[in-house]
Amino acid sequence: MQADATRPGGERQPLVRLRGLGKTFGPVVAVAPLDLDIFAGDFYALLGPSGCGKTTLLRMVGGFTPPTAGTVTIDGQDVTRLGPEKRPTNMVFQGYGLFPHMTVRQNIGYGLGLARVADTEREERVRAIMALVRIGELAERKPDALSGGQAQRVALARALVMRPRVLLLDEPLAALDLKLRKQMQEELRRIHQSIGGTFVFVTHDQGEAMGLANRIAVMEAGRCVQEGSPEEIYRRPKTRFVSGFIGEANMLAGARQGGRVRLGAGSAFDDDGADGPVSVVVRPEAVRLGAVDADVRLEGRLEDAVFLGPYTRYRVALATGEEIIAHASDGRIEEGLAVGAPVAVGWSRADQRIVEGT
């Protein structure tokens, strides 16, 4: 949020600036040339399904994969041609890459030793970082005696102790089970806040991106399809892909003609734009059942209702064969809803997004 306020039209220089950065492997385009700005203090997510090029992008920032086009500028310095050892970035690898022959302490102190940091300072920094990520008691263990969560913290400490200008994290939580993942999310947020650094991470999990990042770049098939704050991306997805990938979304096919959108399922409303097929995107929590006074209203049949604790999930079939999912807390439901019975669904126009194409 903090960066949001300063971002649009702000005068600040981005910390990481990617210009026309792209990578092709032979005929395969892993990352199509793209521009991205990452500002100091950002917790930045590169989000996309596997194979979308997000890890390749991260590796180009870290210097592990040489780009085939464009430049990487960090802190005003062009680092495109520099190897990872010469960049002010450090990486937390997926699978961690801990040195199996060194203890935790040796792993963490390794980079400082290479940088010729004096012994006393090195010890102090290693101790402090181990305290920060809460692994002080593991100092003399070897990596094969660590649990997944512990190894994750060691990898994090090993990178953080270098005080990188930018910390890169490749699927940092993917290998952990659900409970640990939630816990580590909290940890990462706490650490980010306490040291105030710039973190860039790759993930395929939209929940993780929403929970951690203040900026998200959504990638699809080597392209960055939308970039913005989590709220922006959730509320105003630019494409069907983004709306489907970030959270759950209902998508209804329709067509625009002469400034009026007509849905296949029945309803119609005014909307400016070029003639052609469109999709109407609406989030399940914005859909109301039995709505009489809604801006957009459709008739269907209740197929299924599942009580999920915080809310109930309803599945409604429309005459077109399309389905609408509605999430509703119990209080809002009309009495007398029955599976198999006809039901009306509706939502406010403010809650829907219209994207081109179907």
Binding site: F64, P84, E85, F93, G95, G97, F99, H101, Y110, L114
Partner: protein, 278 residues
């Protein structure tokens, strides 16, 4: 019941090890304290055989250890370099290189020694090739019947056997640990010294120990291409059994050379250990 059957399945292998390896060795150790009277073994408890080993064959023992150390060092170094090429430099042809290693693994111990004799001999392949090319006027005698020929021959024999454990340990080095080291500021030479080499130490020291023991105990190669001045201990041990029938001496010499090898290997390992990172 299950456990019992499982242990029973280990039985035959344990029997082979116990009856055909442990028992003969224990017995050989006992015999090394016996004496020989008029070509007959007689039980005793004397240390003479060991004292004799040092007195008569001390020089040969030292020489053997020196030659074995040379061979083990050379072979392990070459094996590591070759394993390194297969793992990091050869790309797709790495598999082909590995195949070459595997097919030459058991390709005739005696045949290999014989091959080197025909290559290095005065009337051998190398000399005839040099003559035919006009590079020398007369056959050179420096190729064979010296410790160098033994080193070359045994290195050739042991190389594929050393490549396998070394390569296995190199294959265990994950690429990601190399990237992590570079990310933390290590140049390629440091990555090699700090990350690759230490992770390979088990494989390297196994290969080294193996080469050391096998070359220290070999007698066919020195006898065949080593010439009269390459008097390795294995040659004398074999002599105690095939010519002199002095088994207790042969036994004592065997255990002495094994002990010497053990010491040398431990020393080498300690030396390697010193080179490890902080």
């Amino acid at each position: 019941m299950e456990t019992l059957r499982r242990h029973a399945m280990l039985g035959p292998a344990a029997a082979v090890l116990g009856l055909l390896f442990v028992a003969p060795f224990a017995f050989l150790f006992v015999v090394s304290f016996w004496r020989v009277r008029t070509f007959k073994l007689s039980p005793d408890f004397i240390l003479d055989n060991y004292v004799d080993t040092f007195d008569k064959y001390g020089g040969s023992l030292l020489f053997t250890v020196a030659v074995a150390a040379t061979i083990a060092t050379l072979t392990t170094t070459l094996a590591f370099g070759f394993g390194y090429v297969i793992r990091f430099k050869a790309g797709r042809s790495g598999n082909a290189l590995l195949m070459v290693t595997l097919i030459t693994l058991f390709g005739g111990y005696l045949v290999k020694i014989y091959a080197w004799k025909t290559i290095l001999g005065t009337e051998g392949i190398l000399n005839s090739a040099l003559l035919a090319l006009g590079l020398v006027a007369e056959p050179l005698t420096i190729f064979i019947y010296n410790p160098g020929a033994v080193v070359v021959t045994l290195t050739h024999f042991l190389l594929p056997l050393a490549v396998l454990p070394v390569y296995a340990s190199l294959r265990g080095v994950r690429d990601i640990t190399l990237e992590a080291a570079r990310d933390l500021g290590a140049r390629p030479a440091r990555v090699f010294l700090d990350v690759i080499l230490p992770q390979c130490l088990p494989g390297v020291s196994a290969a080294f120990a193996f080469c050391f023991l096998i070359s220290a105990g070999d007698y066919v190669t020195p006898r065949y291409v080593g010439g009269p001045y390459t008097s390795m201990i294995g040659d004398f041990i074999e002599g105690q059994f095939s010519l002199k029938f002095d088994w207790p001496s042969g036994a004592a010499m065997s255990f002495t050379v094994l002990a010497a090898c053990l010491l040398a290997v431990l020393a080498a390992r300690a030396l390697l250990g010193l080179a490890r990172p902080r």
